[in-house]
Subunit: 274 residues, 4 copies
């Protein structure tokens, strides 16, 4: 305890006793076999049981990325890693570390949705006019709008559409989702590009925001959804027995220059020193 | 392609095309909303759809650890990390890295089960006598038997028992599980310690082995099951706004010795150099 | 090669042949025993040999942090890690991951110095008046100025002063360093706080910027300087044989609430599902 | 403090006070500008000042690897990482994680040297006969001898030879180094392969063992020596602005099989469930 009588740590995630662990207050022993993993994930993060619909929504969200072959840098990095250090732990940590600024992470769209919604609410309304103002503000800064656009799909992204249908069916869809669609309408109108879609990462963000998750938690959930694929790749790589993967010489532009160390050190006054 | 015409990489986990991704051959677009995440995990790792029973077993297994308060080093390490670098990615990678030799990981029990079963099979039978031989061999090396024993439970571990009940109910229980129980009987008899239980990590290993997972994959699944708890802790820590956590001075035995650098360098012939 | 004939990778850091490696064009075989490690670090990053003065400056910079007892989150996280997973690799990676936004990293000061200098240069001059404008701009945004201030030192920070003296003596001091001091003068005058020092991290940044390093490289160098201390802590922790460190219960405010899973599931319409 | 009055943590690496840090008892303020980084590394790990010769030896050892182009998995993994997450911290941690079983790490040779030396000493002598016994024991287990052999060099490895020359010149060479050479003689004689060299990693291990480092610390030192090269590669990759590196399709053997989810779920009794 410090001077104020407050303990240094504080947590309400779980409490471990000798014979049981309590997850947000629920006995882990009772929970096993009753809750699907997706529901337990919701419980751990939101501190309350999901409805069955929210639980099925989590399953859909956790399945919406899953794996992306050898086109995801983190997967390739993890396979290079275990070709040298054949450890599941090292491979998984490596894959996690490749998630960031240039990957399609829901946290950026999530932050936009939450901040612009709060902003519009404060100004009085969250309608199409308000969405237009937000988009104009955003376009003035030159920043791109996260969650819009897809290399292949035009007008609609079928996977995003599917997540929306499930959200509606499970009773999860709500004002933050509507707001994101309003932002999308405002954007495509002003940019005169009706073909630009809400992609699946944008839709994930809108639904996760509606379910109460913070942007950092959205990144966590996106990483969680990618873990089984990484386990599969790491396992395949270890069983494949390629040791010490490299980049083949013919794929590299090396700088072939050669220099003379002794001459350059002498010219650089190193003689007096060595 | 190398000289033999073989490509440098090979994978059957997934294939990404412009408009869809194929997970072990199945369209990701179709999969969303149809498969629970636990079933998708099985599919990614085992390369085939689970039965509904196997899927429910995966849910139970993924829920059997979940979180362990501030009594798991990886959780504490992750919270220290994000008190300095408030990043979900860094926090999750940190927690993953604390899984290893001294944590209760199912891979050690899994390796024992698979190797001893193969060994016994080769010798002709996987019965109680064979289990006795395996245990005697193990005890001769002085190694402990992974998955046996619990600080509190004696005779039975209720959580392990629950996993067993579910495995039976879902049609997952099989010869490798029976073999692990035979090893347990042989051990408690020979050690004359009937109170020593099969703990939940041992039971997880037996069931995962029966379901066809490799020991490395078991570690991966154990890490997967702990990710939601770590997300919750990292999120709580970031929201708690404690910056730069340290260890309070009163908890540390510091070495208060002070030394004289100039004097010691002079005594150590550093004068000529500096 | 892609369609344009460009290879996928390109690097000038080093080239490995069967019997030797060439570091920025210099034979590694010749380099060993001739270059101090600090000079080799400069060579790898800047692509050219340092002068002997630059090499000594690197030694001073690399020694200016070194270790910070159990008051650095990364060190504590690394010790928690290896108490569970006794691996030098995992421990070092863990410590690296705790470097970020709230740690005193030179990259933030480095970015400020480089950007404001370019800005002022473009506007015509890098003098005190220009520094005043930059500080006013910065203060208007409410952002703090990185590299200024120390919990103990007032008016001067002896360690920063020492780095400055070495930079002058070794011929490394230059316009970017003068510019940072001009920013400091402008800040202390305008804020009417003459006692606020340039701290050692600010001074490191100014000198590293003058030597030509990018902000990202400054972070890399700061991490490099901390690696020996982390190796020492990890080694001490592994030899100390404390297994599975936790946070003692008396240091934690746990949420003792208990809830009834079956009742809450029933109330939440889970009956129909399970 | 626990019941025994012992504090939970104990360290002698450093102690941080308000105005100074003490590194193994020496004032950090005094140390800057006096000790080369290589000497500070020795001090942190061994708890005492090196001699000037030991310091130069450390410089030579830290320079003996440095970088290995795109033929080191950790470097490639780090570049994939920062093509997605452009962060020096993530890139460095990724590179560290690729050090392990299949990389040429000095810890394996170090462990062999220390254990066999202790063993031989206990048996009475550390001479050629004793070395022969140790090699025979090792060969009986089928294990390879770490630190012997090189893909190009036969009879001598010039880089290993150079490290030996420096160790002799700086007064660092000693009984553990002689012992490793005795093991090498015993091995080449018994294997009838006089051309097999002590490679540079083996020589590093022998010298580091002689200087008093533990095998885990040897791994730490090898990682330290590789950090500047990784910083250079990460910096080059970030500046190169390739975003989201993948593996080109033509380098991958994908499994093109396609399967029908609905049909397979129906066949697998999933209908009743969904």
């Amino acid at each position: 305890m410090d001077a104020s009588g407050k303990r240094y740590w504080s947590t309400s995630v779980s409490e471990a006793e000798a014979a049981d662990v309590f997850i947000r207050g629920y006995s882990l022993g009772e929970l096993i076999g009753r809750l699907p993993f997706s529901a337990a994930t919701f419980l751990l993060l939101r501190g309350k049981l999901p409805t069955p619909g929210e639980s099925r929504m989590m399953d859909a969200l956790l399945c919406s990325v899953l794996d992306y072959a050898l086109k995801k840098p983190g997967t390739v990095a993890a396979r290079y890693c275990v070709s040298a250090n054949p450890s599941m732990v090292a491979g998984l940590a490596t894959a996690v570390l490749s998630v960031g600024e240039y990957t399609l992470a829901p946290d950026q769209a999530g932050r936009l949705i939450l901040e612009s919604f709060t902003d519009a609410n404060r100004a009085g309304a969250v309608d199409d006019a308000a969405a237009g103002l937000q988009i104009e503000k955003l376009r003035a800064t030159g920043r791109r709008v996260p969650g819009f656009g897809h290399p292949v799909f035009r007008f609609t992204d079928p996977r995003a559409q599917k997540l929306k249908d499930i959200a509606r069916a499970e009773g999860v869809w709500g004002p933050l989702c509507d707001w994101y669609e309003a932002l999308h309408r405002a954007f495509t109108t002003r940019a005169k590009k009706p073909e630009i879609v809400i992609n699946e990462v944008g839709m994930m963000a809108a639904i996760l925001a509606q379910m109460g998750f913070t942007p950092e938690e959205m990144t966590g959930i996106a990483i969680l959804s990618s873990v089984p694929g990484v386990i599969a790749h790491v396992s395949e790589e270890i069983q494949g027995k390629v040791r010490i993967r490299t980049v083949p010489d013919e794929a590299v532009e090396y700088d072939h220059r050669r220099r003379d160390l002794k001459a350059d050190m002498a010219a650089g006054d190193w003689q007096a020193d060595r």
